[in-house]
């Protein structure tokens, strides 16, 4: 499982890697908005997809690698496409005894697929070009105005950092638990739905128990190293917003939000 997690940080020195993490976070945010904004046309979505792929190419993390990751979501793509095609009312193109396929359905199927693709490759781009530490730093910095509202920004950054640290570990542990339960006859992928849901408990409860123990242990370890709860992740001089960041943000915002302006006016 190690190294196979899609979206894992790839060490590199491209111009994208060197951008300020805050730029990339804001960029990703813009991508998400552009992806979910309603009523977009296929050409615009295709343009956005192409644009993101171009940035992936510039970041040198490997376009093929990212696109291969799309395969893991193929069931999701298929399901949503089928739903849109068969369940959208409109001008019927084919009709098989009650089940209608409309032109709008096909159109919506394609646009939904493209939106999902944009969301996936856009967020992959963020996580593949930004180390977890920089991500946490950037996030903490962007959220720092919330400090004035007494919102625990430092602690939130710590939570995010610890979660990122443990995701691969928890995945491994889940695999081990599944193996052990299967060896006692637990069936995770066959049998009636009700039984399968119960079987999921055989995975979730041990994971939860392990996580709770882990939380206790981590607290002790952090206390032993003088953690008092208010340290910041932001290192002085670590994030520098340069003119390159300004341009990048400018391009990004314009390109992705143009259809939004167009729609509104």
């Amino acid at each position: 499982m190690q190294g196979m997690i899609t979206g894992q940080y790839i060490n590199g020195d491209s111009m994208i890697h060197r951008l300020d993490p805050r730029t990339k976070l804001l960029g990703c945010f813009a991508v998400i908005i552009a992806a979910v904004w309603p009523g977009q046309q296929i050409p615009v979505l295709l343009l956005n997809t192409g644009f993101i792929i171009l940035i992936i190419y510039l970041s040198q993390v490997g376009v093929v690698r990212v696109l291969r990751g799309l395969r893991t979501l193929r069931m999701l793509f298929l399901l949503t496409f089928v739903c849109q095609v068969f369940l959208t009312p409109g001008d019927s193109l084919w009709n098989w005894g009650g089940i209608a396929v409309s032109r709008q359905g096909i159109y919506l199927g394609i646009t939904t697929f493209l939106r999902l693709v944009i969301l996936y490759i856009g967020s992959s781009l963020l996580t593949m070009t930004t180390s977890t530490l920089k991500l946490t730093e950037g996030l903490e910095s962007l959220l720092s105005p919330l400090n004035y509202l007494r919102f625990p920004v430092h602690q939130l950054a710590m939570i995010i950092n610890i979660s990122l640290r443990f995701v691969p570990t928890i995945i491994e542990e889940a695999e081990i638990i599944i193996r052990a339960q299967k060896s006692r006859g637990a069936r995770f992928d066959s049998g009636p739905l009700a039984l399968r849901l119960k079987t999921v408990l055989a995975l979730l409860i041990p994971l939860l128990a392990v996580s709770l123990q882990r939380a206790t242990d981590l607290a002790l370890a952090m206390e032993s190293r003088c953690y008092t709860g208010d340290q910041s992740y932001i290192r002085e001089g670590s994030m520098v917003f340069t003119w390159k960041d300004g341009i990048a943000l400018g391009i990004l915002v314009t390109l992705l939000l143009v259809p939004v302006w167009v729609r509104l006016y």
């Binding site: 196979m4 081990i176 638990i177 193996r179 339960q181 060896s183 006692r184 069936r187 128990a209 392990v210």
Partner: protein
């Protein structure tokens, strides 16, 4: 006919990707009914991958695995293999999820379709065999018990299924000496009472020395030695691999033999080793006189 037989068993993880890893390389071995087989080897030797082939969790990339004469690649057969070959993985107490000890131990039995009265009998029996008092623990939450006791409960849940082959991956890892002894005694008794086959991965080789009929030595996915203890230890020391595996007194014997002393390197217990050393000391003492 051997109960487990592998021929040129090869297993490659993530074949075809850049993360490809060959965990087992043409491993051929056979385990007979009723034997106690110890599997030894260092990090990355493929021990864990190997045992997962025995109950059908994994299928070979190439080569074959036969359990009770039947090929494990046959899905029909593989689906029910867990009833015949019970695996206790490392730190098994981490898989506990039921709210009482009884339910936890009964989990495998329920999945086998056993009826409640028989389940009750089995659970009581196995708790006694593992060294626990059913009256005291059966209704308690496993999480309220000590680490060693939880381990016993987890192992009991597999043993309760009375598999023909009991496979254990480091069953005493992390336990103190009394916890260790309880577990090993239960395993021995189980083998004696039900004539099952036991396959045990352990790096406490001294434990295996008392019980194993046969030892299998793996290194980097390859089976380097398979046979009785003396043969395997001979192989290990002659290839200078034994530093971390052999118990101290055995290493000592081999070291003394290399140094030039006439000692029996085939000692199988501490007392025998003491006798050998005693002999050396007497001789050198006599020489000095």
């Amino acid at each position: 006919m051997p109960i487990i037989e592998t021929k040129d068993l090869t297993h490659v993880y993530l074949a075809g990707t850049s993360y490809e890893k060959k965990a087992l390389d043409k491993v051929s071995l056979s385990i007979n009914q009723g034997e106690f087989v110890g599997i030894i080897g260092g990090n990355g030797s493929g021990k864990s991958t190997l045992i997962q082939h025995f109950n059908g969790l994994l299928v070979p990339t190439s080569g074959s695995v036969r359990v009770d004469g039947k090929d494990t690649t046959v899905k029909q057969y593989r689906k029910n293999l867990w009833k015949k070959v019970g695996i206790v993985f490392q730190f098994p107490e981490q898989q506990i999820f039921k709210s009482t000890v009884f339910e936890e131990v009964a989990y495998g039995l329920k999945n086998m379709g056993m009826h409640l009265p028989e389940i009750k009998n089995r659970v009581e029996e196995i708790l006694v065999q593992i060294g626990l008092n059913p009256g005291e623990v059966a209704h308690r939450s496993p999480l309220s018990l000590s680490g060693g006791t939880r381990r016993q409960v987890a192992i009991a849940s597999i043993m309760a299924m009375r598999p023909a082959v009991l496979v254990l991956d480091e069953p005493t890892a992390g336990l103190d000496s009394s916890g260790s002894n309880h577990i090993m005694q239960a395993i021995q008794e189980m083998q004696r009472n039900y004539h099952i086959t036991v396959v045990m991965i352990s790096h406490y080789v001294s434990q295996l020395m008392l019980l194993a009929d046969k030892l299998v030595f793996l290194e980097q996915g390859r089976l380097l030695a398979c046979g009785n203890q003396e043969e395997v230890f001979q192989y290990i020391t002659s290839h200078n691999l034994g530093g971390l595996i052999l118990p101290d007194y055995l290493r000592l014997m081999h070291h003394l033999a290399d140094y030039g002393y006439q000692v029996n390197t085939g000692v199988s217990s501490l007392e025998e080793a003491a006798r050998e050393i005693g002999r050396i000391l007497k001789e050198s003492f006599l020489c000095k006189v």
